[in-house]
Structure formats: C-alpha cells, structure tokens
C-alpha cells in the first residue's frame, strides 16, 4: 500500500457512442485519406482537360446524365438509413439500428446496381484515352469504397441479428454511418465532374 494523490475515474462509462471515441477519429482520418485521393483525381481531371483542345476526345459520347442523377438521389436518401441506425446506436435501440442499416443496405445496393448499368452504357473504357482512364479510375475507386462499406453494413446486420448488441457493436454502427455520409458526400463533386464537367467545360475550344 502506498499513499498518492489520486484521481478516480471508475465512474466514467466504458464506451461513449459519440465523436469522443478514438475509432471515430480513426474513421475521420480514413475519410481524409480517401478524400485527398479523390481531390487529387479531380485536379488531374481538370489538368488533362485544360491541356487538350477536345474534351471528351473525339469519338467519345458524353456520359448520360439521367440514371446517374437518380443514383445520386438514391445515395442521398440512403443516408437517412445510416442516420436512423446511428441514432439507434446512441440510444441503444436494436430495432432502430437494424431497420436503419437495412434501409441503408437496400438503397445502397440499388445505388450500386444502377451505377453499374450507367457505367456499362459508357462507350469508352479505361484504355480509350486519358479521359476514359480518369473517369474509369474515379468510378472504380468510389465503387470499391462503396462496396466495402456496404459489405461492412451487411456484416453489421448479421451480427445484430445474431444478437450482438454490445457497446462496441453500437460504436461500429455509428462509425459505419460516418463513412457512408462521407462516401455520399464525396460522390456529389465526383458526379458533377464526371457527368456535368464535360458539358460545361467540354466544348471544343
């Protein structure tokens, strides 16, 4: 036994489902990393565009706007699911978490399927020219991220169904929603770059 001046912290909660958690900060860092990558790709898109006279290069159809716009709306609506899930996680309501995640997953999958269709109808590919390379890379990278996050959402749903509702589980649901907001948010400028930029800054100089 030794006597020291002490600060007793046993009254603090184990886990706080909020932005106080390190894992939340970790996810923010992850979003910064991905965001920096997309920003660089956007900068590269315009760098290429400004160094060429024709954009998109001859023979390339402008990408259609209709379906991508629908997918964008779907993505934004799917954030509602994420939001309900994370609110449910904060309040520790299993049903709200499950319903929110399912909504997120369903709309997210619809988003990916429609995107896949729009992607399929492009008349250029990554090896056509530098416009194709850039657009396919942006699409590919974002799709990869979105797929990964939806897979994670699916795993969370399975875990919830199996009755895992501990505090770290709730934290995972909360953090999952943060990543999904980011992916939807970053998709807005990417959508504008891919589908609208060639219309506004794409006319032959």
């Amino acid at each position: 036994m030794i006597r020291r001046r002490t600060l007793d912290v046993s009254g603090l909660p184990d886990i706080d489902v909020s932005s106080q958690e390190p894992i939340w900060w970790g996810q923010i860092c992850l979003c910064c990393i991905e965001g920096a990558m997309f920003c660089i790709l956007i900068a590269c898109y315009f760098y290429f565009r400004l160094s060429l006279d024709m954009w998109p290069p001859p023979g390339t159809q402008l990408p259609h706007v209709a379906i991508p716009t629908v997918t964008l709306i779907l993505a934004i609506v799917s954030c509602l699911g994420s939001y309900r899930a994370s609110e449910g996680a904060k309040k520790n309501e299993r049903g709200a978490m499950l319903r929110g995640l399912l909504l997120n997953l369903a709309l997210g999958c619809a988003f990916l399927i429609l995107r896949g269709y729009a992607w399929y109808t492009l008349n250029f590919n990554w090896a056509s020219d530098v416009h194709g390379s850039t657009v396919w890379t942006i699409l590919g990278l974002h799709t990869m991220d979105a797929t990964a996050d939806l897979l994670f959402t699916a795993v969370l749903i399975v875990a919830l169904i199996f009755g895992r509702t501990g505090r770290s589980m709730r934290l995972a649901v909360h953090v999952d929603s943060v990543v999904w907001y980011f992916l939807v948010l970053i998709w807005i400028p990417l959508y504008i770059v891919i589908y609208w930029a060639p219309r506004f800054v794409g006319a032959p100089a």
Binding site: M1, I2, R3, R4, R5, T6, L7, D8, V9, S10, G11, L12, I15, Q20, E21, P22, I23, W25, G26, C29, C32, I33, E34, A36, M37, I40, C44, Y47, F48, S51, L52, P57, N92, E93, R94, W126, A127, S128, D129, V130, H131, G132, S133, T134, W136, T137, M144, A148, L151, F152, V155, A159, G163, R164, T165, G166, R167, S168, M169, A172
Partner: protein, 626 residues
Amino acid sequence: MTPVTEPPLGEIDDEGERRALERSWRRRPGIAGWFTVTTHQALGKRYIVTAFVFLLIGGVEALFMRLQLARPDNPLIGPDKYNQLFTTHGTTMMFLFAVPMMEGMGVYLVPLMLGTRNVAFPRLNAFGYWMFLFGGIFLYAGFLTNTGPDAGWFAYTPLSGPQFSPGKRVDIWAQMITFTEISALCVATELIATILKMRAPGMSLTRIPMFCWSMLVQSFMVVFAMPAVMVASNIFLLLDRTVGTHFSNAAEGGDPLLYQHVFWFFGHPEVYIIFIPALGMVSSIVETHTRRAIFGYPAMVLSLVSTGFIGFGLWVHHMFATGLPQIGEAYFTAASMMIAVASGVQIFCWIATMWSGRVHMRTPMYFVLGFVFIFVLGGLTGVMLAAIPLDLQVHDTFFVVAHFHYVLIGGALFPLFGAFYHWFPKFTGRMMNDALGKINFWILFVGFNLTFFPMHILGLKGMTRRIYTYPAEMGWGPANALATVGACIILIGGIVFIANALASRVHGEIAGPDPWDGGTLEWAADSPPRNYNFVNLPVATSRYPMWTPPEERVVVTGVRHDRREALVTTLMDAEPPIWPFITALLLGLGLVGATFRFSWYYPAFGATGIGLIGWFWPRRPEGVRS
C-alpha cells in the same frame, strides 16, 4: 478532462494492481505470441529494428555505389546493376528506413509520453507493421532476383512506363510503395487518434511534449501527402503498366509532367514527414540535457504547424527545369524560402535553450550539435536550390545529392542517433557507453562531411547525378575518391554504433526508470516499460510532470485491470489477435499478385474483407437490448 485542483490522497494497492495488470497484458507464449503482439512497445521496437536493418542494407548499397564512383571509368559495377543499386538505395532509405523508423519511434514513445497504455488502435498498429515488413521483403525479393527497380526512386514516366521499362522491375517498385503507404497511413491514423483522444488527464494540448506535437503534425502530413503517391505510383504508373491506361501517354492526351506534379506533391512533404519527428527528438534531447524547459514552446509548436502547411506548397521546386511558366515557378521559390523561417525559429529556440540551460555534454547532445552544424549547412544550400537560376545549374547534379544528404542525414539521422543514445535506457533498461558514443559521433561526423561536402563542388563542376561512371579527363576523380574514403569512415562509425548497442544491451550500466532525470512521462515508466506502461496512469500537472515535486504528482485510479483498458477507450482485444497478421498476409499476397496480373486485386480485396470481418467481429455478446 478538467484539470485537477486538489486531488484527494488515496490508498493504492500497488502490488495487487501490478499482478492484475501483468495478467491481462501478458503476451501469448511461443510462436503465436510472436504473430499476435499488439503492445506498442513491442511493435515500436520491431519497427525500429526492422528499419535499422534496412538502413544497413541501404548503406551497403551506398557503399557499393561509392566504390564504383571512386575512380573514373571504373569497371566494378555495370550500368544495369548500378541503376538498380541507386534506385533501391533511394527507395529503401525513404520508404523502408526513414519513414518507418520515425513512425516506430512515435509508436514506441508517444503513448509513454502521453501517459497511456497503448496506441488507440493496437491491431491496426500490428497490421501496419506486417505490411511494412512484407513490402520490404517484396522489394528485396525483386532486387536479389535481378528484378530490382531501376528507374530512380521517383520513377519518372515515361522512362518508368511500359514502353521503356519492360519487365517487372518498376511494377515491384510501384507496388512496394503501396505496402509502405498503407503502413504509414495506419500509424498516422492511430497516432492522431492517440494524441487527440488518449492523453493523460490534465495533459492539455499545450502540455504535450514537443515530440508528440511533431508526431501529430507529421501524422497529418502523412494523411494528406501519402494519397498523392498512391495516385502517382499505384494509379498512374501501375495502371498504365498493367492495364494500359494513358495517364502518362502523351499520344493519348496523357502528360508525363502530371506524374511529376503528383509525385512531388507527395515527395516534398515526405521530406518533412521524415524531418519533423527528428525535430521533436532534438527538442526532447535538448530540454533533458540542458536541464531546462524548452525555450519558446508556443513558437516551436507553431513553427512545426507552419512547416506542416507550407510543406505542401513547395513541390514545383523539384521541377524548375521542366519549362513551366517562370512566374508560376517563382511562387514556389517564395514559399521554399519562407519555410526556412520556420526552421530558423526552431534553431534559434534551441540555441536559446542551450544558452540559458545547464548543458550536460553527453552523447545525445553531441549528436544534437552535429545536427545543428550539418542541418544548417543543408538548409542554406536548400535556400540556394529555391532560387530558380541557381537551381537550373545545380539541379540533378551532385550538389543536390550533397544538399539532401545534409538535410536528411543531418536533419534526421543525427537526431535519430542522438535519440538512440537518449532513449536506449528506456528501450532496454541499460545505458549505452558514453565514451564510445562520443567516439561514434566523431567518426560519423567526420566521415559524413568527408563524403558529402566534396559533392557540392563536384556538382558545381558539372558532375550529374545517377551516372555510373565518368571519364578521367573530367577531373572528378580525386573528390570522388575522397567521398569514397568518407563513406568507408561512415561504415566504421556504423559498426562502432552497433557494437556499442549490442555490448551495452548486455553489459551496460543498469539505467533505472529515469537515468537522465527527464521531465516527460516516458521516464515515469519502468525501463524497459511493462506491457501496460504504468501501474497507475499518471496525471499531468504541468508540461514536465516529472519535474514537479513528487508530493504534487497525481495518479489515476479506477481503471480496470482485469482486461486491457486505458483511459478514454476500451482497448478491444481481450486476447492478442492473429487477424492483423492474417489480413496483412492476404492483402500482401494479393498486391504481389496484382503486379503480375490486375485481376489479382479482386481476390486480394475479397480476402482482405474476410480478414477484416474476423478482425472486427464482436467477440461475445456483451450485453442485451435494454
């Protein structure tokens, strides 16, 4: 976390808590223990030792290059091997030595300095280490099978493109970058979360040690700089090479210059990523060995932060000869000169600290003084390089080789050696031999200047970089011979260091927790620290908790001992997990495969997903719906 004004006196069952902590923080026995370690001291040490091995390998490569250049028309090493040597040397030193070494020091020291038990994400930490190790092995597997990269450590397109570098050499380089980037990003993420969220109670950001500030700034730089090299090496270069995109193909609208922009948007901050932690180490050494609080703490922090920002606005000074508009280039001259102010402020503050302190001239201080000498010289040649007209002459010559070795060896390696001598007692529990340390310093200092100072003049006299030989009539022979002699002296210095470290590890004087009477919290832990660092987490009552009188120090109670727990977060691993290793292995295999065939990315990501599910799957039902 509000500061504690009058904490009550409490009874602490020291022995009981120690036993409980030993039990919950023990490592798994045997081989499994080796693959499942997630404590930051063990991983930090692994980073440091592995990076040191790569330093030795890179150094031997440098020695071979020096031997080849020792005399004109030397037939020792042909151009093919020489090109592989300098590319691998640069790549090793930047990606496999300097960055991982700094991160290893951060992983080891930051939780100790902050007064916590581990980093925020212990498994991510383990995963990062394995990725780094696999990346290094991958590069050297290539090098030893004569598939070492040979397009320079920055692999400019189109030389590194599919047309002019057929074969797998450049692919290995590009994918090796992916490994080390992932590793660096893992460490940066966990250090940011650790520093922002896991400080000891009472430790406001205005109280964290300078080294933690430097790691925080460095980590943010990693987060924003490393994605650029991912774009450059993994997207531009590797996709151009493997699936035929056209990012660098001028014929299809691509542009080889964009690769340079993106690469240097990473590449210049990279220099600061290496250099900023070294500044933190210098501050730690100076304040401890001058016996006074560092002078100008706010000024030093703000100059670190400024350096972190301005570091992103310098990249074009690597491209002054590419023919960009002069006015555009001049902005980068201006920024490159202004960043010198930030470094200047730090140097002035250290000198002021020494001036008003009680300097104890032990080995770490020798290395700090060597750092000041070499780094100031390198910084001033950096100012010369920032001037476009001067850069046009000396760019891509041995002048630049001299400059960046002065900056990187002077600015990072000397502080690092100082840091080894300073924290060796913490790492091992024993002191390093001080007399031998001073001899070690003088050998390295003389050898270094003998090697690199003549290169300034060689560059001005026309010797370009990356040439494997030169004709006798150029008259560069004597200075090159001198540089080679210097390189051999550096080798002797390295041997002295290793001998000192190995001997001191076994026979060195027992250090005790606080051999230097340091002020920061790492000296409160045992030497070497236990897996849980502190029996009772400390409370920071000032910037130098260890310099406050013992009766005023405060400790935390009420943290659970029966599982791995730290303040602010529950560390999630009940049992040390194997998943980080498995995930790294699967992802690593996938990435290696993807250098041969793009489709390997699909199973790579699939397997990684499975690994991550295993990693994050909640262990047991921790509670039911309320």
